[in-house]
Each structure stands twice: as C-alpha cells, then as structure tokens.
Amino acid sequence: MSAEQAAAPRRHGGLLGHDALVRLTRAGVVLLLFAIWQVYGAFFADKDFVSPPSAVAVALFTHIFSDGAVMRAVGLTLVEVALAFTASMIVGVGLGVLIGWNTGARRMALPVVLLLYAIPQVVMLPLVILAFGIGPVAKIFFGFSHGVFPVIINVVAGMRNVNPLLLAGARSMGASRLEIARHVMFPHMVPSLFAGLRLAMTVTLIGVILAELYVSMAGIGYYTQVFAQTFDPAPLFALIAVLAAIAIVLNELVRLAERRVTRWRRVGM
C-alpha cells in the first residue's frame, strides 16, 4: 500500500459509508455467482455432472447430515486437522524459538528448514500412507508436516524483527531471560507468528484433505468416490461444501484469535 493510499481521505457516499458499499458490492458479487450457478445448473447443465445450489442444499440434508457414517468421516477429518494444527503450532514455535534464539543456530538451521520447505511434499504422500497406514495417524502427520514449516519460518523472522533497543533496555533494567521472552519478545513476535499460523492452517487443511482423498477405502476419500459414481452429483457437491465451510470457519478462528491477541496494538494507537 502506498503512502498516498493511506493518506487518501475517507469518502462518504450518501447514506452508506464507503466501507459498507464495498462490503455490499462484495456480497452482491458472491450472490451473483451463486445465481449464475443456480440458473446454469437448473436449466443448461448436464444433470449428471452439475447440480444447482438448490439441489445441493437438499442433498445436504438427505445425504450428509442424516447419514451418521458420512458425518463421522467429516468429524474425524475435523479432529485430524485440529490435532495436526496443534502439533504444527507447538513444534513450530518450539523449533522456531530454538533456531531464532541466537545467530549461530539460525545460520545453521534456517537454510535447512527453507530447503525442506521448498520440497513439494505431495510426492511423499504415498510414502507417508505406506509408512503410517490408512488411518488417522498418516493424515495427521501429513497435515503436520505441511503446517510446521510456515510456523518455524515466521517465528524465526519475528524474533529477528524485535527492536534491539527494547531488548537492551529490558536487559539493562534487570529483566531475566524469561521476562524478556514473555514481555518483549512475545508481544513483538505476535504479528509474524499469526502470519505463520494463518498460513499453517491453510496448508494443514491441504495436507489432511490430500491424505483423506488419497485413501479411498475409508473416510472422506471413500465417500467422494461413492458419490462420484452415482449419476447424481448433488451429494458430492454437498460433501465438498461442508468441508469448504469447515475450512472457512477454521481459517476465521485463527484470525479471530489474532484479533484478540493483538487488541493492545490497536487500542494503544
């Protein structure tokens, strides 16, 4: 964002503020897309391949919410994502702090982390399933192995960005290492940490769902196969919609947590 953009005066358009107008238009665009999909799906599309949103909404109740086995598969996926994300966060912050604590450790470890992060992990998916089996462990591991890298990298970056003056100040006033970590390092790491956590949630979801889809004998992967083989795609659309909704909620939760933790920043300014 350029300085000019930030300095631009707030425009007030009649009854609606500028921000409200932007939000309304955005909602309108989304609604329009759904309307196009509805019209296309109901009147023009081949019913064997595309279902309109109205049919998907019906399938949501007839095939997904009412089917205990499908709901259990969805629930298990949610648990896998939660565990994988928690593990990414704990291990990522732990390793990030270890690596970021001193320059020597960072010089040794960060290039290795970046080297590993650049590997397209998806090529190892069959190996992960072979090693951990078709159960939840493989899926949690694959989610974790995706999520942990952005956390490490952002924690290390965040620790580097702490103003050395503040550190020196705290030290000269006799703060212990723990106090420095709690009161100086942590508050200043938060924005970067949450940038990492947001990315971690996105890629953890990718990892878990990739592994779920790869295993076609059980779970989500099984139901996508089953639903794709009938000549009514509405349940498949509905299952995907449920999972996409879960993904959106999880991403929002991370942002909500971020807003809570960073409140002091906005209040202070």
Binding site: E4, V22, P111, P120, I240, A247, I248
Partner: protein
C-alpha cells in the same frame, strides 16, 4: 533474509544433503530400517538410471511436464488479466482483493473430485485443478503490483501526453513487475505440486501416477526413484526461478 542465500547458506544446505544421504546409506547398510520403507541408496540410484536409460520414464515425464505447462499457462493468463482489470479502479480492488485472498485459503484440493467428474482421469482434470490453484498467487500479486504504482507517476506521465499503451508499457509494468514475478514463481511451484498431487489421486499416467502405483505394488525402489527425481528437479528449478526473480527485482 540475509541468512538464506549466499555462500554460507548454500554450504549448510549441501552439508545437510550429504548428511541425509550418509544416514540413509548407514541405516540401510545396517538393516536398521525395513527395506520396504527405505531401500538402499545404491538400489535407488540404479533404478533411476534404469528408468531413464530404458526410456521408460520419459513418457511419464513428458506427460506430467506438458500438463504442468498447460495448467501454468492458463493460470498466468487468467491471473494477469484478472489482476489487471481488478486494479483499474480502487473500488474494484477493494471489492475483489479480499474475496480472492479468502478463496485462496480454502483448500482447493477439495474440488479435485469434481474436476475428475467433469474432465475425466486424463490430463484435463489435472490441468483444471493446477490452473485454478495457480491462478490465485498470480492474480493476488498482480493486484498488489499494480495497486502500488504511485499515482503521481501516472499523473505525470499522463500530463506529459503518454498514450494509454505508453502508460502501460513504461509506467504500470515496470513498477508492478517485481511483485508480479514473485507471484509467477509461486504459481509455477503450486501448479507443479497440484499436478503431481492430482496424478497421485486419480490419473491414468504421469509421474504422480507412477509414484502411487509403485507404492501400491510395494516397489519402494521405484517409488523412491521417482520421489528423488522430483525432489532434485524441483530444487534445481526453484533455484533457477529464484535467480530469475532476483534479477527482475533488482532492475
């Protein structure tokens, strides 16, 4: 980040790779790990040689590469166009930028079963999936690139009588390009991973299919050969792309 490039970082990375290969050699030599999960280094090296010298691998490599290129081409064209048109007004940017950024956080892999339904198990479904995933970084970085062009440069150029094309060529593109090339690089890596992932999930041929097949047939030497091949190729590609990106950003 200073510690991530340069001679010292490269040495650390090379040392790390050497250690990994050393440990791999050690644990397979002493039979500490079952060969099903980790076949000996020598065997994997011989298998790679065999795959490529008999010509068996090239068909898969050619197919996957072609799929990636097609997906990437679609992603780039769509992403650049969308990014350009969205930034034609500040209002449109404010409406669409958060929308595109939020969509990008949804795991697009969820829609892959639909693409298989629409386009079949041939390259079509992988192209669609890779192109959709690769679209986002290009579009978002194009938006970021074009919206950071300073207004006064535009006013100055316009007041000096620049034509719309002249404006585009000499003001908009040069200031947006450094940000856009980052999007282009990320998009390529995402296309590559998406196509490989799609091939593992559902395909008739290609590198991803070969990895999946080797795992299913319990042929770890072959599976590791493909994994090592992909990891090496993408690491080299990533280095080359980062170099190009660095050059463009420096100008």
């Amino acid at each position: 980040m200073g510690a991530t490039s340069g001679f010292a970082a490269r040495s650390v990375q090379i040392a790390f790779v050497a250690i990994v290969i050393g440990v791999w050699w050690g644990v397979t030599k002493t039979h500490a790990v079952m060969p099903l999960f980790l076949p000996p280094v020598g065997l994997v090296a011989r298998t790679i040689d065999q795959l490529f010298s008999t010509g068996e691998a090239w068909a898969a490599v050619r197919l996957t590469l072609l799929t990636i290129v097609e997906a990437y081409a679609l992603a780039v064209v769509a992403g650049l166009l969308a990014g350009y048109f969205v930034t034609r007004s500040r209002f449109l940017t404010e409406v669409f930028e958060p929308l595109i950024a939020n969509l990008f956080t949804i795991p697009i892999i969820l829609f892959f079963p639909l693409f298989v339904l629409f386009f079949g198990i041939g390259p079509g479904s992988k192209i669609a999936y890779g192109a959709l995933y690769g679209f986002f970084p290009v579009a978002l970085n194009t938006i970021a690139g074009f919206s950071r062009v300073e207004r006064r440069f535009l006013w100055a150029a316009r007041s000096m009588g620049a034509s719309p094309f002249g404006l585009f060529r000499h003001v908009l593109v040069p200031s947006a390009l450094p940000v856009i090339v980052t999007g282009l690089r990320i998009s390529f890596l995402i296309c590559l991973a998406s196509v490989l992932g799609g091939e593992e999930l559902s395909a008739a041929a290609g590198i991803g299919k070969n990895i999946e097949l080797a795992a299913e047939l319990m042929d770890p030497a072959r599976m590791y050969s493909w994994i090592v091949f992909v990891v090496l190729t993408t690491t080299v590609l990533n280095l080359v792309l980062s170099q190009i990106e660095g050059r463009v950003r420096e100008r």
